[in-house]
């Protein structure tokens, strides 16, 4: 039996959360590593001195998108051909842009935060959500690409939840996305990940920000 992938990161969402979501969606159990021992274990394996780090299939993988692409292909969540893959890449890159805005905000100065969150919600409502609403309306299928569940759906679902944490009513003008959210949220693996006790992490709080700043020295 294959060993569980080992995830090395801080005890928080950050750039690892998208990876946790994808593994959960694929029904893959993971081993999480953080805390004092982490730096000793990871020393020498961090290609650019950065985490996330995922140990899987005998490899020490870094770089969020490299890891996500590898997992998507491994667990058949990457479409059936090159053109579907290209669409999945487009959609996941777009949602990642949105999610990275949210991830960066706790680390900006307190006076900027409110402004940033408002800007992010605006971008979600005027740029990202309309684009995905249109995709779903266009083909009328349950999932974004190729009438099959893929990495693109996992990440859009995650992005929706993150923006809803900033503005609970953000989907009010997006009926397709509302239905999509309900549908995807009901899938067994997704449902499981949403339960308390899963590997899902809470939003960044002051303590998390402090730890990250201390370790990464910024």
């Amino acid at each position: 039996m294959a060993a569980k992938p080992k995830l090395y990161y801080f005890c928080g969402r950050g750039r690892m959360e998208a990876i946790r979501w994808l593994l959960a969606a694929a029904g893959v159990e993971v081993d999480s590593r953080w805390g004092r021992g982490r730096r000793r274990t990871t020393a020498g394996h961090l290609l650019f001195g950065q985490v996330p780090l995922v140990e899987i299939d005998g490899m020490m993988l870094t770089q969020t998108r490299a890891i996500l692409s590898y997992l998507a292909a491994k667990y058949n969540l990457y479409g059936k051909d090159l053109k579907e893959r290209a669409r999945i890449d487009m959609y996941t890159d777009g949602t990642m842009d949105l999610m990275l805005m949210i991830l960066a905000t706790p680390f900006s100065s307190p006076t900027n935060k409110e402004g940033s969150y408002a800007t992010i919600v605006q971008k979600a409502k005027t740029r990202y959500f309309p684009a995905f609403e249109k995709v779903l309306k266009g083909h009328g299928e349950d999932f974004l690409v190729g009438n099959a569940f893929s990495w693109a759906d996992v990440q859009l679902f995650e992005a929706i939840l993150m923006v809803e944490e900033l503005d609970a009513a953000v989907l009010s003008d997006f009926p397709q996305l509302k239905a999509f959210k309900a549908r995807v949220g009901n899938m067994p693996n997704m449902k499981k990940f949403l339960q308390p006790g899963s590997q899902r992490k809470p939003p960044a709080d002051d303590h998390y920000v402090k730890v990250v700043r201390d370790v990464l020295q910024f």
């Binding site: 290609l47 650019f48 001195g49 299939d57 490899m59 993988l61 870094t62 770089q63 969020t64 998108r65 490299a66 890891i67 692409s69 590898y70 292909a73 491994k74 090159l82 053109k83 893959r85 290209a86 669409r87 890449d89 487009m90 890159d93 777009g94 842009d97 740029r127 990202y128 684009a131």
Partner: protein, 222 residues
């Protein structure tokens, strides 16, 4: 005969330049439509070809591809520059993601204010010398092969060499102490398609100078 890809972007390097390099290295001829006026800019918001109202956008094989990574992934796969299997692919991705992080710093540098610039330059030099170049020199040293992954040309080599040219433009001395990377740069630059792209008259774009940036600021009212 298949139509040529059409690249939509500003007449500048930015995030499109890596795509130009990769197409050129693959020997693929392409056309360009430049965003040159405020009207062109405004069209991004309403023209449905631009999924997230942004460029780069590349029309190819019946698709309107946006997001530079998605575009590069597609081109690399189509033209066999993405390794032979999943394990080579993930190595290529790890390397190119790191390169992309550094490339972004170069792309953003012209936009920095006069006050910010010295700091930004110092950061780029530090990361180049202490994080990125050592990592890639180590990769080449570890296997002693002519290319970064799988003993075969891939997108990782193309992006590496593009980046080495930018590093050299900033400060040629940064390449001191990285003999294997210098050799890679020479080797890749001598490949016929790359050599052609490096000649004057190709679609390769020059660095943004102050004058061009001032013009752009006025045109787009930035």
């Amino acid at each position: 005969m298949a139509e040529k890809p059409v690249l939509h972007y500003f007449n500048a390097r930015g995030k499109m330049e890596s795509i130009r390099w990769l197409l050129a290295a693959a020997g693929v001829e392409f056309e360009e439509e430049f965003i040159a006026s405020p009207e062109d800019m405004a069209k991004l918001k309403t023209d449905e070809r631009f999924m997230f109202q942004q460029v780069p956008m590349v029309e190819m094989d019946g698709m309107k591809l946006v997001q530079s990574r998605a575009i590069l992934n597609y081109i690399a796969t189509k033209y066999n520059l993405y390794g032979k299997d999943a394990k080579e692919r993930v190595l290529i991705d790890m390397y190119t993601e790191g390169m992309t992080d550094l490339n972004e710093m170069f792309i953003l540098l012209p936009m920095a204010s006069k006050e910010e610039k010295p700091d930004k330059i110092a950061t780029i030099k530090d990361k180049t010398k202490n994080r990125y170049l050592p990592a890639f020199e180590k990769v080449l040293k570890s296997h002693g092969q002519d290319y970064l992954v799988g003993n075969r040309l891939s997108r990782a080599d193309i992006l590496m060499v593009e980046l080495l040219y930018y590093i050299e433009e900033l400060d040629a001395s940064l390449l001191d102490g990285f003999p294997l990377l210098q050799a890679l740069k020479t080797r890749i630059s001598n490949l016929p398609n790359v050599k052609k792209f490096l000649q004057p008259g190709s679609q390769r774009k020059p660095p943004l100078d102050e004058k061009v940036l001032e013009e752009a600021r006025k045109t787009f009212k930035l």
